[in-house]
């Protein structure tokens, strides 16, 4: 990797935005599993594996699965955020293996928000 110049920062920003933003890129759904120590301790790794397995099974290429750190609400871990193109992200709490599979198959694939597992919609910062 070449050393960056200041102008490269903007380029990376644009590239990543294109990759992670659902509006411009090829992806339609982004699933974020929150993997801080709190998340991992309460089973986020199982949840992540379940999501990846379901993704493989679905054969979909337009769904991104990614990880992030603690979302702050450690007592409700594992937390998962599902963001569908053009819609507000949905935060799920107390996710486990079967819930993750259901969220993947019903929400990520079919667009049906699983409100029974969800905490809220939108994001923390405007």
């Amino acid at each position: 990797m070449a050393k960056l110049k200041i102008s490269d920062l903007a380029k990376i920003k644009e590239q990543v935005s294109r990759r992670t933003s659902l509006r411009n890129g090829g992806a339609k759904v982004k699933i974020t599993v929150h993997m801080g120590t709190c998340g991992i301790a309460s089973g986020a790794r199982t949840v992540l594996n379940a999501a990846i397995e379901e993704l493989e099974r679905s054969g979909r290429k337009d769904i991104i699965i990614t990880t992030s750190g603690c979302a702050g609400l450690c007592s409700h871990e594992p937390l998962v955020t599902v963001e569908t193109q053009g819609e507000e992200p949905i935060k799920y709490v107390y996710v486990n293996d079967p819930k993750m599979r259901q969220i993947f198959n019903r929400h990520a694939l079919e667009g049906e928000v699983q409100t029974q597992f969800a905490l809220a919609r939108g994001s923390e910062q405007q």
């Binding site: 110049k5 992670t20 929150h34 991992i40 949905i90 969800a118 923390e124």
Partner: protein
Amino acid sequence: MRPFRMHMLLCGGTGCHASGSQEFKTALEKELERRDMADEVTVVETGCNGFCALGPVMVVYPEGIFYVELKAEDVQELVEEHVVKGRPVKRLFYKEPKGKESLPHMQDIPFFAHQQLIALRNRGLIDAESIDEYIARDGYQALAKALTQMSPEQIIEEIKTSGLRGRGGAGFPTGLKWEFCAKVSGDTKYVLCNADEGDPGAFMDRSILEADPHVVVEGMTIAAKAIGSNRGYIYCRAEYPLAVERLQLAINQATEYGLLGENILDTGFNFELSIYQGAGAFVCGEETALMRSIEGKRGMPRPRPPFPAHAGLWNKPTVLNNVETWANVPQIILKGGDWYSSIGTETSKGTKVFALTGHVNNIGLVEVPMGTPLRTIIYDIGGGLPKKHRKFKAVQLGGPSGGCIPEEYLDLPCDYEAITKAGAIMGSGGMIVMDDSTCMVDMARYFLDFIQDESCGKCTPCREGTRRMLQIVEKITEGRGEAGDIETLEELAAMIKESSLCGLGQTAPNPVLSTLRYFRDEYEEHIYDKKCRALTCVAMIEFKVDEKKCKKCGLCFKNCPVEAISWEKKKPAVIDLEKCIKCKTCIENCKFDAIY
């Protein structure tokens, strides 16, 4: 035969059968018979309509009303209300599953609504292991600005304007600290990060390092430019393996991108950064001990002055800030000191991250503007206390160096000065909520015990003094307290505060002093009445059942691990003291405080 005026189509599928549709049907028919309505209302069993999860289900015509989860007990009400009076029973209606519109917005949830994120701005949004995602959230823009558009003096001026104070606990103005160090001449200077978070119940720094390690790297590099340093260390405790791993990855990525190392961003500035893992001694969070530890020596504090700004690591001028402080720096550089100082109170600017834990519903990490009342943090953000029959007693701030704040000070705005006035300290941000099942004497004992373990032993007041204090408090909790104990504690506390070498010893008596200040009656109760009102101190519990309070529920009997409790329905429980091992399981399970 005249037609039926009402058709009740009850599902008879396997699912509804299994959930009791037959019992419901029998009861329904019987009730209609009894009311002599069997010839005007018909009950029809239908095939499965797919709502097995909510069975037994029934559709009633002519209205077409859909009932779910019916039980035989519902029959009476259903017939009386709907069939006789024509008023459908709403509580048995099928409810549309809530759509996402009915989900609250994040901003409507008090836990999130009252927070303002600066240090935690990237939490949950970026992949902590991807430098690109950090850059996409304007990462390293502040560094670029500091390196190309600002002089070292301007950087320091910006930080001074912001009013940022050390988030490790002491609250020393960060800009001033940098300025002192910048003014000292010398070609070798160090920038250090204190990630030796050790207060019981505190996890702010770990969380920042795990979720957003680059923000610390960027903040430190900016300071390096400001004071003229080319070398930095992050002192992180080895008990934080995930933080260490992600931090190392961040350093590697930044180095690869030329954001660390030589000729950063092609500006000719060099800064090298590495992690030093601490072995977990609490005292190594003290700045002089931390530096000795990095030097490879035993982590023990030394007297100040000289202050680290003049003679720090390897006796070179050094700036040391805590993780959260560093996490604020890039945003201040990007948005300006004036923006930052517009948040918070007169003396405390910006936001503070708290690790909210203990007897509170929403355990987690919160970042609020300085000056937010404790009540907002505990009740709105924290969602209040989980056990309904328990009352709030106190909130512990600042870990072993801090103190307890009782109910009457909950409306206090949270800033450095107000909290200190109330007898606690801001500390690094641990916030432990306690309900009335917590014994304040026992809590003080816990923290003294912690300090005893962690005292490095270099100076006598801390090493010996806290041991004597612990012995006295232990004696009190064991029911052997005597008149004069409280006075001795106070005398020792004053002495230890005055004469200890470092912050650990100087603040060690705080948990005792603050509990004495607000809960002196509990100490007196322990000493003179041999009573522990929170039923925590085993020596003072009789393990008897108050027959007046006992509701004869049998929960104590069911939970006793040694079968020491006898109980029959409608009779108060009796504890056999011969068999009782005083484990307090019965007390924890009794909802009526009937065991004393």
